[in-house]
């Protein structure tokens, strides 16, 4: 597949007797990202791009970007893209997919964007069974604005706006989006995955593929939640961040397929 954004420099091209064994997917732009060291956005981007290529959807894909650390996700996807207002990605994606029914449309949103300011747009797009795929990055904090409390922040978690640790009363508990989405009739696929280990990353790719497949096959709304690390705002090393996902997040946000209409 042809990607106008990726051209391997002459020096790196395979020489006589060599063959290329690893390259950027056609749906991805091969360039360094602006994300922090240890951030999982890069892995998530790569997985989405691989799935688009494998489903032969790159040429008709449209990305609806959100607001947050991933606001510039379109810099790394070699697909047509547009910017949505904060939280409105699923509504904007509804407009794109309805206006252009042959496209493959996906949103890429963080927890502040999707689960706080954009909860209404997200839930209603899902409930209408819009043929779009929503990728939800849950790292329990607002990343771009500096680590404030998110709807997904764990009870007791210290953030810049919950200095005493998040309290259930008055500040609410961690919102479980996958379970919420799975309960809606319009949702055809909902799964929560994590990006803390190779095994989990592999499962995440399978889930993303399924979430795009339900769109392409016209079954309904596809949703994947990805538990991701934010070493910067968690004030941890990337390794410690991965351990936090396994030890603190997964017990609160259990992994697994909550809904799958693909085999029905």
């Amino acid at each position: 597949m042809n990607n106008p954004c990726n051209a391997l420099p002459e020096a790196l091209r395979p020489r006589e007797g060599e063959s290329l064994v690893f390259d950027a997917p056609a749906a991805q732009v091969d360039r360094p990202t602006h994300y922090c060291p240890g951030c999982h956005h890069g892995i998530a981007h790569r997985l989405v791009a691989e799935v688009l290529d494998e489903l032969d959807a790159t040429d008709r894909a449209v990305l609806v970007a959100s607001v947050g650390c991933s606001a510039f996700s379109y810099d790394y996807f070699a697909v047509d893209a547009l910017e949505a207002q904060h939280g409105r990605a699923c509504a904007v994606a509804t407009g794109v997919r309805r206006a252009n029914p042959d496209s493959v449309v996906f949103t890429y949103q963080g927890d502040g964007d999707m689960a706080a300011i954009g909860l209404a747009e997200s839930v209603h797009a899902a409930n209408r069974g819009e043929l779009i795929t929503a990728i939800f990055i849950n790292n329990t904090v607002y990343g771009m604005t500096g680590g404030q409390t998110a709807p997904t922040t764990l009870i007791g978690q210290i953030t810049t706006t919950s200095p005493a640790g998040r309290r259930l009363r008055g500040e609410g508990g961690p919102l479980r989006m996958t379970e919420l989405m799975a309960g809606l009739d319009g949702v055809a696929y909902a799964e929560r995955c994590a990006l803390d280990s190779v095994r989990h990353v592999r499962a995440a790719k399978k889930a993303l593929r399924n979430a795009f497949e339900v769109q392409i096959r016209g079954l309904g709304f596809g949703f994947v939640e990805l538990l991701s690390g934010c070493p910067t705002n968690w004030h941890m090393t990337p390794q410690a961040a991965n351990r936090r996902i396994a030890e603190e997040m997964i017990p609160v946000f259990p992994l697994g397929t909550a809904k799958n209409l693909l085999d029905k």
Binding site: A65, R88, G95, R98
Partner: protein, 374 residues
């Protein structure tokens, strides 16, 4: 009964829907609010019949956001609302202007502020013309007064939106939306064919890069410009576009040749004023009407020409609000360009229905140069 097949008796709101569909609109996103519900009701019937899409959104925020997505796809699309609903759309409106998208919005205004009432009002003039959203956004604003204009102006709205890649608002009110009048369902001369609209969107719409051939570069529709100097460049581009839009100013001047007093009014109020003027002229009063068709760009030139043609001529602005368009009239006639023309104001309160007889007295007072109590 000779012309029965040519004219249909429909509400202004229904004329909006017919006009939009006939102009090529294929997506409608909205949320119910009085007094414009006949628009979504008609669209929910008309669009599926022709392969278009109708979505009742979860809110006006959702509707305007869906509109952004559909416009970015280059498909003629619209929303409609009123009052508080239009307030909720301001975020998307600013983004659509910043992203240079051809959105069409219809505001059948109701009384405010707040929940106000469902009666007619022109209290949304500032919001429509000066922009209720953030940043330097300007939207073309068309002000229909009749059901026929509701139909015709939808063609103009889509033509202007796609020509300038800029949102266009059609601003009516409860009277314009609810009035039933004969409408001829034939495209007006300034209509652009739907294929032409598609051509205008072809250079920028997002569609999936493969549609533009193998190896086509990806496209991006956005309003964010963080790199140094890029937002300045974007705003210069917008400024140039807004200046070009000035050529689209339209107005109607009636009975102004001999007028000592020119009444400036738009929309439904201009109709009541026209009837009052007709009655007063029958009594020998030298009074005429200046009716802005575009509220943005404001027809400054037309007003200045009237002031220049007859120095000493007075202007009376009649609006159904506490005084909004009058500021633009004063600005247009300010300084030498206005030849020292005096600008008077008469405001009607929102929610009340304006009739011609009630307007005769303030016009008579203005003619005599006396103070008018609104």
């Amino acid at each position: 009964m000779s012309d029965a097949p040519e004219r249909i008796l429909i509400k202004g709101n229904e004329a909006v829907a017919f006009g939009a569909v006939d102009a090529g609109c294929r997506c409608y996103f909205g949320y119910p609010i009085t007094p414009q519900n006949e628009i979504p009701e008609a669209m929910s019937r008309l669009l599926p019949e022709i392969g278009g899409c109708y979505v009742q959104a979860e809110s006006e925020v959702g509707a305007a956001s869906m509109l952004l997505g559909a416009c970015a796809s280059g498909v003629p699309s619209m929303t409609s609302s009123s009052g508080c609903g239009i307030s909720l759309m301001q975020e998307a409106l600013s983004y659509m202007t910043g992203s240079m998208l051809p959105a069409v919005l219809v505001n059948m205004a109701r009384g405010g502020p707040g929940l106000g009432d469902i009666g007619p009002s022109q209290g949304d003039y500032f919001q429509a013309v000066k922009g209720g959203g953030h940043g330097d956004h300007r939207n073309i604003v068309l002000a229909p007064a009749t059901a026929q204009e509701c139909y015709d102006f939808m063609f103009r709205a889509f033509a202007l939106a796609f020509t300038y890649a800029n949102p266009v608002m059609v601003l009516g009110d409860a009277v314009v939306g609810q009035i039933k009048e004969p409408v001829r369902r034939t495209p007006p001369p300034d209509a652009l064919a739907p294929e032409r609209l598609a051509e205008l969107a072809a250079p920028w719409r997002v569609e999936g890069r493969g549609r533009r051939g193998p190896g086509a570069a990806p496209r991006l529709v956005k309003s964010v410009y963080l790199a140094e100097g890029t937002l300045a460049a974007r705003n210069r581009q917008l400024r140039d576009k807004y200046e070009a839009m000035r050529a689209e100013a339209r107005w109607i001047a009636q009975d102004t040749d001999d007028a000592d007093l020119v009444v400036v009014a738009y929309g439904s109020i201009a109709r009541a004023v026209r009837s009052a003027i007709r009655a007063l002229r029958a009594q020998g009063a030298a009074v005429g009407l200046f009716r802005p068709i575009t509220l943005y760009p404001f027809p400054d030139e037309g007003l200045r020409a009237l002031a220049a043609a007859r120095p000493g001529r007075r202007f009376l602005v009649v609006e159904q609000n506490l005084g909004q368009m009058v500021e633009d009239v004063r600005l247009a006639l300010f300084g030498p360009a206005g030849r020292g023309a005096e600008v008077l104001f008469h405001g009607l309160m929102p929610g009340l229905l304006a009739d011609a007889q009630t307007l005769e007295e303030p016009v008579r007072l203005a003619l005599a140069g006396k103070e008018i109590r609104s």
